[in-house]
């Protein structure tokens, strides 16, 4: 487990949890990124300003990290252009159809012991593990 980084993972996870709790305390909203982002791009929503502010805060984080001298590596995405487009479409469509993503279901929902979130998180985690196993070890060679 050469790549395991338990200390930074625990600190980062705690920060994410702290953010979710503060967002509920301050604004009464769930910190589900797919819901926040969808509400920002959807023409039907009326409460865009807090969503835009949250997304701006997300993007400001790595920028600030870079400014203070912390190295933020360029993300390396596996697969071709087609894989990235298909992956993006599935993540976007699936997150809306399933009412949430890793943050909304995985953190906020499971923290409330919501059966829906426990079910959704189990399904998407297992599905992702199967896809990685197939793409890396069966078809990837």
């Amino acid at each position: 487990m050469a790549n395991f980084t338990p200390v930074s993972a625990a600190i980062g996870g705690a920060l994410i949890g702290f953010s979710a709790v503060l967002l509920m305390l301050f604004t009464g909203r769930i910190a589900g990124i797919s819901g926040i982002f969808d509400g920002l791009i959807n023409q039907q929503t009326s409460d865009r300003s807090w969503r835009a502010a949250f997304v701006a805060g997300l993007i400001a984080a790595p920028v600030t990290a870079m400014l203070v001298g912390y190295t933020v590596p360029m993300p390396r995405l596996p697969g071709s252009f087609i894989t990235i487009v298909v992956g993006g479409l599935l993540v976007g469509f699936g997150a809306r159809l399933g009412s949430g993503c890793t943050s909304g279901h995985g953190i906020c929902g499971i923290a409330r012991l919501s059966p829906r979130s426990i079910a959704a998180t189990s399904v998407f985690t297992v599905a992702a593990m199967v896809v990685v196993a197939l793409s890396r070890h069966v078809f990837g060679g």
Partner: protein
Amino acid sequence: MPIFASLVCGFLFGCGLTVSGMIQPVKVLGFLDVFGIRSGAWDPSLAVVMAAGLTVTSIGYALVRRRSPLFEKESLWPTKKDIDQSLIFGALLFGVGWGLVGLCPGPAVTNLATLSLPVIIFVIAMALGMLAHDLMLARAAVRSA
């Protein structure tokens, strides 16, 4: 005030994703690759992120559960209870996309800061996927009306 509070919360969330390394698809895929458990290449960091995040959130939510939010009129706790087809099928599609690329919405949006072209393409596709779903829902509503 609610706008500033949301900005601060977004910033903290982004810091969490950056510090934990979860904005790197390689680390996420390193967790999702269960074959790595046997070979020794497995990276359990994502599980630690979830465990720490869940610990803080469950304690914090229990503390703020009965309070009204400070800067809005009411809290919007989710109310749905039933595990329906949409939930399971949506989670399944989401998981397939997540496994293909190693990005979910939080890390994808946060990574826009790096101006990586593949990430920008992913976020545009993700937005189109969301809008396609919303359009489908709106059409279904018109049909049933």
